[in-house]
């Protein structure tokens, strides 16, 4: 019955869409398309909605604003004007910290400020975005193959470990050293992805369980490794590894403008890899198999595609992508391994992958957005005194709204899209 009713419900929905007369003007058609619940609109509205709720949180978490609520009914104006000041200031700092600070531009143009300060926000955004794009891809690619890769964090940790070891253990010439370290990082991450992949293929062990467990293994392996002789920095007593050799550090792209501009080759690697994954999905034989298996493993098996080997390969490639993400951190910004060297870039990758709707360039833009929130959040914290955790809340809200398109559609009263694919995309795989 369920089958039947859904089928007929779809028919009815399709019929409903057909009923509407097509708008005559171009603008009319454009607006209809925009306000139909397509993926782009929902994403933009989800970001908007998250910022609105974030604004409410900023307002009510402020002591001065809360003080005005005691006399809200006698002078409500105070409450609103204070709230507005607080929220607009916070979001202004968010913008200045992630994109550009107009006063810095003016100062640089007048000759009173340094150009370094103009490029600093965008440099920070790109610095944060590069590993996020790679870990986001690691989740997205597996997702397209029908797998929930919760192990991005562990794979990224192993990638960082591999890159760091190659970075300070192998005495290699400039140029080659960098490439080798990246490859070793990808290989470590790939191996960490291969394990759940082959377990799924051979035994049917669910990848969600195995990857979560492997995250812990990787984390504690890292904790053990960095206090071992030959790895730990001999000049330090705390748990930190030797720094990666200069020859294996990712070049700072804007180093000539100023030393604080951290943006490095990592973002170039990320863009190249995004392009490569986009090509892989669309044009390669493996990409065809991956998509087919991800959408319908039974039909793929019936058509002679090796579903198990595809799973194993997908997880290996996804792990390698996550490993590259970890590698760019340790070779770009962190330089030494510590227990928290990659932060939560693996887990954030899941959010980025979902927000990017598991499409390579979508993931890239989602990574830019998350990178910008991260960079802007730092400034917001120091200038407006708003905790960085709020950024985490906003990021999570965005993803919740994206993952629950029905909610956004209801809030904004969007028309049902004929082919939305939102809900199905997010809910399948389990």
């Amino acid at each position: 019955m369920t089958e039947q009713t859904t089928a007929t419900a779809e028919d009815l929905a399709a019929a409903g869409a057909d009923q509407l007369p097509p708008p005559k003007t171009f603008a009319g058609r454009y607006l209809r398309n925009l306000w139909t619940a397509n993926t782009f609109t929902v994403t933009v509205l989800a970001v908007l909605l998250a910022l609105v709720i974030g604004g409410i949180l900023i307002a009510i978490s402020d002591e001065n604003v809360r003080a005005t609520t005691s006399y809200f009914f006698s002078r409500p104006g105070d409450f609103f004007s204070l709230s507005w000041d607080k929220v607009s200031d916070a979001y202004a700092q968010l913008f200045k910290g992630s994109i550009v600070d107009p006063t810095a531009v003016q100062a640089a143009a007048n000759g009173t400020g340094k150009w370094e300060r103009v490029f600093f926000p965008i440099s920070e955004t790109l610095t944060y975005a590069a590993p996020l794009a790679l870990t986001g891809l690691a989740f997205a690619l597996a997702f397209r193959g029908g797998l929930f890769n919760i192990g991005v964090q562990g794979q990224a940790i192993m990638g960082a470990v591999g890159a760091a070891l190659a970075g300070f253990l192998l005495p290699l010439p400039v140029g080659i050293h960098l490439v080798v370290a990246l490859i070793v990082g990808a290989a470590f991450g790939g191996a960490w992805g291969f394990v759940p992949g082959i377990l799924k293929a051979r035994t049917g062990a669910h990848e969600v369980i195995t990857t979560i467990m492997l995250n812990y293994v990787a984390l504690f392996f890292l904790g053990w490794l960095i206090v071992q002789k030959g790895v730990q920095d001999p000049e330090r007593s705390d748990a930190i590894s030797k720094p990666v050799d200069d020859s294996a550090q990712l070049t700072h792209l804007l180093g000539f403008v100023g030393p604080s501009l951290r943006v490095n080759l990592g973002i170039v690697v990320a863009i190249l890899v995004v392009a490569a994954v986009a090509w892989l999905l669309r044009r390669s034989t493996f990409g065809f198999e991956l998509r087919a298996v991800g959408l319908n493993p039974e039909a793929s098996r019936t058509a002679g595609i090796g579903v198990g080997s595809t799973y194993a390969l997908v997880m290996t490639v996804a792990g390698a992508l996550a490993g590259l993400g970890g590698a760019t951190i340790v070779m770009g910004t962190a330089v030494s391994l510590t227990g928290a060297v990659i932060g939560s870039v693996g887990f954030d990758g899941l959010l980025v992958g979902l927000l990017g709707r598991a499409k390579p360039w979508g993931v890239f833009f989602a990574a830019l957005l998350f990178g910008a929130l991260q960079a802007g959040g730092n400034r917001m914290q120091s200038f407006s005194g708003i905790s960085l955790e709020l950024v985490g809340v906003i990021q999570a809200l965005i993803v919740i709204f994206v993952a629950a398109p029905a909610l956004v559609k209801t809030v904004f009263r969007l028309k049902p899209a004929k082919v939305s694919g939102l809900g199905t995309g997010m809910s399948k795989g389990w």
Partner: protein, 500 residues
């Protein structure tokens, strides 16, 4: 739009057949009556009074009951427990013990009154399909409904079970109940209906009397006259292509589903496998295709053993395969028509290599095949296959399998859920392929389809081929075979049925 301005009137004590192709809107209409869908326009009158039905509860209150195509029973519950589910009676006041005794009594009463022969204490999963269906009917009748909707009730039944069901329907009718009988099988309609309403593309296209001829009903359904029989010459059987010997295969639960099957399919003939669904046909075909492990026995293709080969090896050896469940096993619904047309050959020339695929070559070939196989979609083949109708989806699979040279063509339920026009087309393609010298193995639970296409018919029952007969064998005899009654055992036929 699934239903567009449909009017339907059912008189008391009438069996009203609702006839239409799959996708014509029959089920939608009934789901509206049963409250599962809401109408955009129009109204429902019960006893001349308008009612508003928001869900199954309202429908039952208005005296409308429904037996779904897929049964809504809890397999591990007994018949009585299933019947009381949703209308539980309790004793012991606020404590609320389930009153099983009353439920059992009720089942027994209803079962006796309408001669349904349902035992309230049996566990549902142990009952044959036909009896499970009667449990559904009991369930509806205990809710005191006056109108019973039966949605494709005979799709899962043997000919004998179908005859029993028709008898029950007559009993119900005699007791004053009205029945809406949804089907696309013309013979049943003629046998039982008092009136026939034909639906096509969501519209009522006519009301007919039961003595209307099959051809007339079919053309009403499809909107033009259809060839019900496929024109084909005599088979010129050549050398054996597929040989299956002593094959034993287990089903998903580890029970023996195929139990020592021997079969030979020759070049240039259609071997049809008749049988009620669930007698091992699915597992047999999956084993031949390398999709299911084989417990014992052997399969050979042109003398070469195929056991242990991967599905891809078997396909590439020249086997074409139309799987039973097209939406699960046959197509990737979110892929385009073009992509689905190369689902098993995407990495062979000219469509691709070990490393890359060539979207241009895939698109070009799609354009040609969409036209050749009359797939109704946009000509470029770039629409997602899931947006096509069932018949056109099936044509995509057939087109895919017929676009490479074949030695053996295996088709499982090739026309299930397919409109009459597409059935005709697919049948002609199969016969054409046979005439070209391909060996064809056809599995169908529609006896008419097997009769129309096969040159020899193997009847499967409980995992065995119990007889191989010629298509000239009378329907009734094959029907008995499908129920497991061989000619030697014909005398005990009745017993075999009842404790089935």
């Amino acid at each position: 739009m699934a239903n567009d301005d449909i009017s339907l009137t059912v008189e008391p004590g009438e069996i009203h057949a609702l006839l239409g192709e799959n996708g014509a809107g029959k089920s939608t209409l009934m789901n509206v009556l049963y409250g599962l869908l809401q109408p955009d326009e129009g109204e429902i009158l019960v006893d001349d009074k308008p009612v508003r039905i928001r869900g199954p509860r309202d429908a039952i209150a208005a005296g409308i009951g429904m037996v779904h195509q897929h049964f809504m029973l809890v397999p591990v519950f007994t018949v009585a427990e299933n019947v009381m589910l949703g209308a539980e009676q309790t004793t012991g006041g606020p404590v609320g013990f389930l009153d099983r005794r009353r439920a059992r009594k009720l089942v027994r009463e209803v079962s006796d009154r309408y001669r349904l022969a349902v035992d309230p204490d049996r566990t549902v999963e142990d009952l044959p399909v036909g009896v499970q269906q009667r449990v559904e009917i009991v369930k509806a009748l205990t809710r005191d409904v006056d109108l019973l909707i039966l949605d494709e009730p005979t799709a899962v039944l043997t000919p004998q079970e179908t005859a029993d069901l028709l008898e029950i329907m007559r009993t119900l009718k005699a007791a004053g109940k009205s029945i809406v009988f949804i089907t696309h099988k013309l013979k049943e309609v003629q046998a039982i209906a008092d009136r026939i309403t034909v639906i096509r593309r969501g519209r009522t296209v006519g009301t007919a009397a039961p003595d209307t001829s099959e051809e007339e009903l079919a053309s009403l359904m499809v909107g033009r006259s259809v060839l019900l029989r496929v024109e084909k010459g005599a088979a010129e059987a050549g050398a054996p292509v597929l040989e299956v010997a002593g094959l034993a295969v287990n089903d998903d639960r580890g029970h023996r589903a195929v139990d020592g099957v021997d079969l030979t399919v020759h070049a240039g003939e259609v071997l049809g496998i008749a049988g009620v669904q669930g007698n091992g046909q699915t597992e047999l075909i999956e084993a031949i295709m390398g999709l299911r492990p084989v417990v014992a026995g052997s399969t050979t293709l042109e003398g070469r053993p195929t056991l242990g080969l991967s599905t891809r090896d078997i396909l590439r050896a020249g086997v074409g395969y139309v799987p039973e469940d097209r939406s699960v096993d046959g197509l990737v619904k979110d892929f385009t028509v073009a992509e689905n047309l190369v689902l098993d050959i995407y990495n062979t020339e000219p469509f691709g290599t070990r490393w890359v695929i060539r979207p241009d070559a895939i698109a070009e070939s799609a354009r040609a095949r969409v036209e050749q196989f009359d797939v109704r979609t946009d000509a470029s083949g770039q629409a997602a296959v899931g947006t096509l109708s069932g018949g056109n989806q099936q044509k995509v699979i057939v087109a895919r399998e017929f676009s490479r040279p074949l030695k053996l063509f295996i088709a499982s339920q090739p026309t299930r859920g397919v409109d009459v026009g597409s059935i005709e087309f697919i049948h002609r393609q199969i016969v054409h392929e046979r005439t070209e010298g391909t060996a064809v193995l056809l599995v169908s639970s529609e006896l008419d389809e097997v009769l129309a296409l096969a040159d020899r018919i193997a009847v499967m029952y409980r995992g065995r081929v119990i007889a191989v007969v010629s298509p000239d064998t009378p329907r009734e005899e094959i029907g008995l075979l499908m129920a497991g009654v061989t000619t030697e055992a014909a005398g005990t036929a009745k017993d075999g049925q009842s404790d089935d």
